[in-house]
Point group: C2
Amino acid sequence: MNTILQQWITGQVLLVSSRLMSAGITRDWGVAIHGGAGSIPVEMPPGRRDECMAALKGILDLGVQLLSAGTAAVDVAEQLVTGLEDEPLFNAGRGSVFNIDGEHELEAAIMDGSSLDCGAAAGLRTVRNPIRLARCIMDHTGHVMLAGSGAEEYAQSIGMERVDPSWFDTDRRLAELERYKAEPATLEQEGSTVGAVVRDVEGRLASATSTGGMTGKMAGRIGDSPLVGCGTYADEGCAVSCTGRGEDFVRHVAAHKVALLAGSGGLGARAAVERVLRMMPDAAGGIIAIDREGVPVALFSSRGMYRGRADSTGLFETLIHGEE
Amino acid sequence: MNTILQQWITGQVLLVSSRLMSAGITRDWGVAIHGGAGSIPVEMPPGRRDECMAALKGILDLGVQLLSAGTAAVDVAEQLVTGLEDEPLFNAGRGSVFNIDGEHELEAAIMDGSSLDCGAAAGLRTVRNPIRLARCIMDHTGHVMLAGSGAEEYAQSIGMERVDPSWFDTDRRLAELERYKAEPATLEQEGSTVGAVVRDVEGRLASATSTGGMTGKMAGRIGDSPLVGCGTYADEGCAVSCTGRGEDFVRHVAAHKVALLAGSGGLGARAAVERVLRMMPDAAGGIIAIDREGVPVALFSSRGMYRGRADSTGLFETLIHGEE
């Protein structure tokens, strides 16, 4: 029983469903990843579909290898999101969308549930892997979050790899910006974020999220991904990463709400994610989460979500739509 | 009974203490303000003590006038924090602390609990009243948060009042930076933020928070104040504004935790604030909150907190330390 749950109970809140937490079989380890939720056409071009599935499988397989070898949850989360950032198919790192000025502004956050340590970066234009900068901010600055030129200066000072902003460009995202500029209301944001949630063999939980934001966003806009509690959260009971229209996940502080309901609230990850998605009926998006039992969860209210789940019982699946 | 509480209960979580929510007398309106918590010396220079108390009384009196006249909670919260920003005694707006580069980077957030609408701005160097910019972001951009040069450009585009960065300077904060540079570990941050929480005559709740951050912070550092859920939060059940070392309030998502415990958790504002401060034993700081019953709460774990409370039953008090 974790500390928060104890405090919750001693505070007169009776948790009749806490038994749910111990009803299942605890996995040695588990992991879920996502490459964004959104209006992903069911009839995808076969080539693109195969590319996305191959990318998800490659990242998920890396997670399996790392976790089987006993790597710590926060290190696995960082490495998987680094891989997803480097994959131009997804909206994070290389392949990020363009803002209304035709520029990229990247953001990311990471959190170690065992210590509540967290790090976040936003407004990045030249840092190749935002999640790695978030990790360094967490480990070395005494701060949680750095943004804009201050974040870039810090990245420079520690020798973090930086790239020309054009490195993030892809023709596909440029075409999206042009469609957005022509008809802002009609552009369906297809896949908005990448993320990973992890339970390691020691039972530690961690989450990480990274994104280029939304096509046509205003310069300086910060979404939910780098905001601790909104797009990214982990404590001793649950690790969470969100994807979808960021503003909705911010106003609901969605990741923290999932973690509290799953852990202290005794619902476990699946019921907690279902509950929070229902609380946001207007917000099309998705949430991945994993609780102390290690069952990876990936649910969404949008048309699709690039996602994968694996655990030590042999589960290994990658999916895009609901019907697979 | 609010919607979230209903969902919580139907979700198998029994709230034995929900009766606490209706045990008291509901006020027509209530308000709490703070000018920061921290290591405020008990033996303050009498002149400074009088100045601080006069400033708090002036702001609180404005709140009483506005609320008695039926002004909406979110408008009251914005106006009170605007007043606190313009008061050079407190660390927000004019009078903000300096970062390690000798510059000011200001940040603020506002939230309307009745709609969950929220707005936030960070990394501001020339916007006279950050809370007013946060409000405009909430009302007009479709985004929740803008930072850095993008936020400044937006402020310029809507004709918001901007000032030379030196306008925020005060000799006292410059001396603090010099002390910090000489001995970083020994500087006690005296008062770190300003904020307001409000319940209006219609029962709507709102909160607002603004700050210059912490003396000697890294360039680009974002604290808890502009982070929805961390330093600032409001929903239908509770409005919350935090002050103290921001990083601690971020990792605990403190404001959202208070609101959930107070509203959905049935504890009411006072018990919820006490609980969350106990959950953060290493974090010296303070929290103001107000719940649906309208009883304003201002509690802290630091040596002192500049604060004031008023409500429609005649309560009107301003305090700095615990023993008054």
